[in-house]
Amino acid sequence: MTLSDIMFYLFAGSILTFSVLTVTSRRILRSAVYLLFVLVSTAGLYFMLNYNFLAAVQLTVYAGGIIVLIIFSILLTSHVSEKAVVAPLKQQIFSALAVAAGAVLTLMTIFKFAFTPTASPAIESNVQNVGRALVSYGRDGYALPFEVISILLLAAMVGAIVLAKKEKHLDPTEPTSNN
C-alpha cells in the first residue's frame, strides 16, 4: 500500500460518502456544503492524475464559483433551517431500484470491456502545452471551441442578468410594456 493508493482511497471514499449525503440530506444548505466536498475531492483526483491546470480550474470555477452561486440562491429562496420535502417512499424505492440496475449494468460492461491504451509516447500536460493547444488552430488545436465557449459564457451571463432582473411594475394586474 503506497501513499498514492492511500490518497486515492481517501478521495474515492469522500467522493462517494459526500455524494450520497448530497442527495439524501434534508437540509438544503448542508447538502450544498457536501457537494463542495465532492468537488474538492474530485479536484484531488485530477491532481493525482497530474492534470494540475484542470484541477485548479475545478477548484476555482466549481468549488469557488458554482457552489457560492448555489448557496446564495438557497439563502435567497428558503430559510436556513428549512427542511426539504422528500418524495413518497414508493417513489424512493423505485428510483433506488432503477438506479441500482443501471449501476450494475454499467459496472458489468466496464469490467467486461478490454481497454487498450495507445502506444504513442505521452505528452506533458503542463500549463505551457495546455495554453499552446488552447489558442492554436491547426492539428490538436482548440481555438474554435475556446471561442465558442467564450460566446456561450457571454450569452449565459447576459441571459442570467436579464432573467433575474426585477421588473419595475410589481403590480401583476398592471400590464408591463417592454416584455
Binding site: 503506497t2 498514492s4 486515492f8 474515492a12 462517494l16 455524494s19 448530497t22 442527495v23 447538502s31 450544498a32 483526483l45 485530477y46 493525482m48 497530474n50 492534470y51 491546470f53 484542470l54 480550474v57 475545478q58 466549481y62 458554482i66 452561486l69 448555489i70 435567497l76 429562496t77 428558503s78 420535502v85 418524495a87 417513489q91 424512493q92 432503477a98 438506479v99 443501471g102 449501476a103 454499467t106 466496464i110 469490467f111 481497454f115 491504451p117 495507445t118 504513442s120 505521452a122 505528452i123 495546455v130 493547444a133 488552447l134 490538436d140 482548440y142 471551441p145 465557449i149 456561450l152 459564457l153 450569452a155 449565459a156 451571463m157 441571459g159 442570467a160 442578468i161 433575474a164 426585477k166
Partner: protein
C-alpha cells in the same frame, strides 16, 4: 503519481457518482437540490473524460479540453438556472416542483 491504481477503479467511482446523481434528480422535490444533482452527474462525466485521456490516450489532451469545456458549460448552465429559479420564486413564492404546474395543459 497514479501508482498502480487501475483505470477501472476510477471508472467505478464515476459510475457510482453518476447514478447517485440520477437518484437525487429523481427523488428531490426542490429545484435547487435537483440542480445540485445535475452538477454531480456532470462532474462524474468529467472524471470519465479525464481518466480515459490519462490512461488510454496520453499522447494528446482531448479529454482534458473536453472537461474544461464541460466545466464552462456547467457554470453557465448553473447561472441561467439560478436566474430562472429566482424568477420562479418571485412569482410563485415557492421552488417546489409540486407547486409549479401553472403551464401544465
Amino acid at each position: 503519481m497514479i501508482g498502480n491504481i487501475s483505470l477501472n477503479s476510477f471508472l467505478v467511482i464515476s459510475t457510482l457518482m453518476f447514478f447517485i446523481g440520477i437518484y437525487g434528480f429523481l427523488t428531490r422535490r426542490n429545484l435547487i437540490t435537483m440542480l445540485m444533482s445535475i452538477e454531480l452527474i456532470l462532474n462524474s462525466v468529467n472524471i470519465n473524460f479525464v481518466v480515459f485521456n490519462r490512461f488510454l490516450y496520453p499522447n494528446q489532451l482531448q479529454g482534458h479540453f473536453f472537461s474544461l469545456i464541460v466545466i464552462a458549460v456547467a457554470a453557465s448552465e448553473a447561472a441561467v438556472a439560478i436566474a430562472i429559479i429566482i424568477n420562479i420564486y418571485r412569482n410563485f413564492k415557492s421552488i417546489d416542483v409540486e407547486n409549479l404546474d401553472q403551464m401544465k395543459f
